[in-house]
Amino acid sequence: MAQIELRSVSKHWGPTVAVDGMNLALENGEFVAILGPSGCGKSTTLFLLAGIYAPTSGDICFDGARINDVEPRDRNVGIVFQSYALYPNMTVLKNLLFPLRFTSVKSEEALRQAKAIAELVQIEELLERHPSQLSGGQQQRVALARALIKKPNLLLLDEPLSNLDATLRLTMRGEIKRIQRELRVTTILVTHDQVEATTMADRIICMNAGRVEQIGTPENLYRKPDRTFVATFVGSPPINLIDGHVRNGSFAVGQKRIPLSGSCRDADVTLGLRPELISVAETGLPSEITNIEPMGREILYTAQSEIGLFRFLEATPQPRMALEDRVRLHANPEDALFFEQETGSRIEGLSLAAFS
């Protein structure tokens, strides 16, 4: 259990910048998720924390002490790799005992601890097997147990659920959360599955191209995304984005003017509106249905309005509307978000005064 801090940490590989000036502070016992697209530097961040890579610049601190030059073995970090990285020549029990070889724990005590941790992740019956004789989910539990056996100060999970099927993923999500709460260990979970991030973590770090785009609660990232990238990356189906301009207190797209609430100088902006927050009503923005996609319990419609395409959801088993139907789209005008096109940052306090 440690308090973790990154101070403008960067990691370069020749010309490649894997992590770019990252700032981050984690509370004791906190569970955070790093969410971001492939290649954005998530694994690199974990390896920097574990001490496997040394940062090119910046400081990494555990409990206030700078540990840049501290060897991995002296950091007491448990890590679960995306590939699990179990030692293929050792049995499950030997895998679990391996981290204890390098501590002062006596062999009897080590055995007792291995049994206890195996019980925690429910792999007691598998102790004599080799990793090649385990299913993906079992391997994942072994990897988790091996990471936990030293009672690490920091637990790092690199996409631990990506190899599992949907059902197992759901169970393991709950398991990891339970174990984390039980042990109260500071945990960082890397994922590019936003549902995983939002359901498991207290806070989410949204990364893109080596930079932190936003850190906040799942709710926060969803409702108040700081940047266009976060708005598009968090939420499914993705947020509707419509490019336009601020002209004399109105949002202008072509000839259409929609009044704004809040003040903003004239600029090129992007309107963002979540599909879940749009519905069809008596009054609202006139549109025409152009596409209908049944998605199980919900139906995703696409509608062409005067200012652009909107996608919205309706929770009905059968489509209520047909292609080319003329409808009126309704949304709470204050739900509309605005982003500066030039910088991609959200304009605080700006929204629509009406949606019609």
Partner: protein, 315 residues
């Protein structure tokens, strides 16, 4: 329809396996059969077969009263057997396996460019023509003050020059062959180390393992199969290799291994050659020993199990 297909398969089999089979037949099977036949004849300088006999083997096992050289032949056979065993064992144990392993471990632990440079240097003897390599050794151990070893001995240590040809002939051929053999071991083991997933090293480091523990618990288990491979195949190769021995030592008695004996008794342009049947008999014994050793090592190193099991976990 079915018929044309099966015919197609037969034709394909011939096209793909034909060249390799012909190669095997002409260069491996045929010589073994010839050897087998000649070993049981009395063929000598005249290259004529007068009778079929087991005389050649009898010469090896017990003194031949009729022939003046009989006793001598028997003695030289047993000496060759012992020298082969010493030569193969020490070259393999010291160089091909141990030194190859050390080279692989150290060069993979170094930064890439440095490790690569070292490996390239170690490959040089293998890449240079064998005659050049042998000449180099002849110069290195030259018994006069011209030799490299003697230059170092006299100039640096101020001691007397040594004649390694006479004093340590076996050591000379072990070292000369070993420097070449080590590079094979190094290459195979290096690629085996390279194929260990990077994450296993990361995991071991995060678990607290230092370089020595990583070598012992992560690298060595992954090298069991390549080490067995090197042991089996290099021991067979060394058993029949005489190229460098002949080039460096000539037909010297002090380094007369089985392969050298078979060669000097038959084809070598030296006195004593032309005893084709006797050479064939020695070669036949060498083949039998090779098969037995291969099977023994196969059992010993548990290669069957290693072949059957996945060597490295792949996800």
């Amino acid at each position: 329809m079915m018929q044309t297909q099966t015919r197609r398969q037969v034709v394909n089999a011939f096209i793909f396996l034909g060249p390799a089979s012909a190669f095997l037949l002409v260069l491996l099977v045929a010589p073994i059969i010839v050897d087998l036949v000649v070993a049981f004849t009395d063929m000598s300088q005249t290259v004529r077969i007068d009778e079929y006999t087991t005389d050649q083997f009898r010469k090896i096992i017990r003194p031949n009263e009729e022939a003046l050289l009989g006793f001598e032949l028997r003695g030289s056979f047993y000496r060759a057997l012992a020298k082969t065993a010493i030569f193969v064992f020490f070259t393999l144990a010291i160089f091909n396996v141990t030194f190859g392993l050390l080279l692989a471990l150290t060069t993979t632990a170094l930064p890439d460019w440095l490790g690569g440079t070292f490996r390239a240097i170690w490959l040089l003897p293998r890449m240079s023509p064998s005659v050049v390599y042998a000449l180099l050794w002849i110069w290195v151990i030259d018994p006069t003050e011209r030799g490299l070893v003697n230059q170092v001995l006299t100039n640096v240590f101020g001691s007397e020059p040594v004649n390694l040809f006479l004093q340590h002939p076996m050591a000379v051929i072990v070292v000369a062959n070993g420097f070449i053999g080590a590079s094979i071991g190094m290459l195979i083991l290096t690629s085996a180390i390279r194929s260990i997933p990077q994450h296993l090293f990361f995991a071991a480091r995060a678990d607290g393992a230092g370089p020595l523990s990583i070598a012992r618990h992560i690298i060595m288990p992954a090298l069991r199969w390549p080490l067995s491979y090197i042991t089996v195949f290099q021991s067979l190769a060394l058993m029949v290799s005489f190229e460098y021995i002949f080039l460096i030592m000539g037909p010297a008695r002090s380094t007369m291994t089985m392969a050298m004996l078979a060669y000097t008794k038959t084809l070598a342009p030296q006195i004593g050659s032309g005893q084709y049947a006797y050479g064939a008999a020695i070669t036949l014994i060498l083949i039998v020993i090779g098969v037995v050793v291969a099977l023994l090592l196969y059992r010993l190193t548990n290669m069957k199990r290693l072949l059957a099991k996945p060597r490295i976990e792949v996800h």
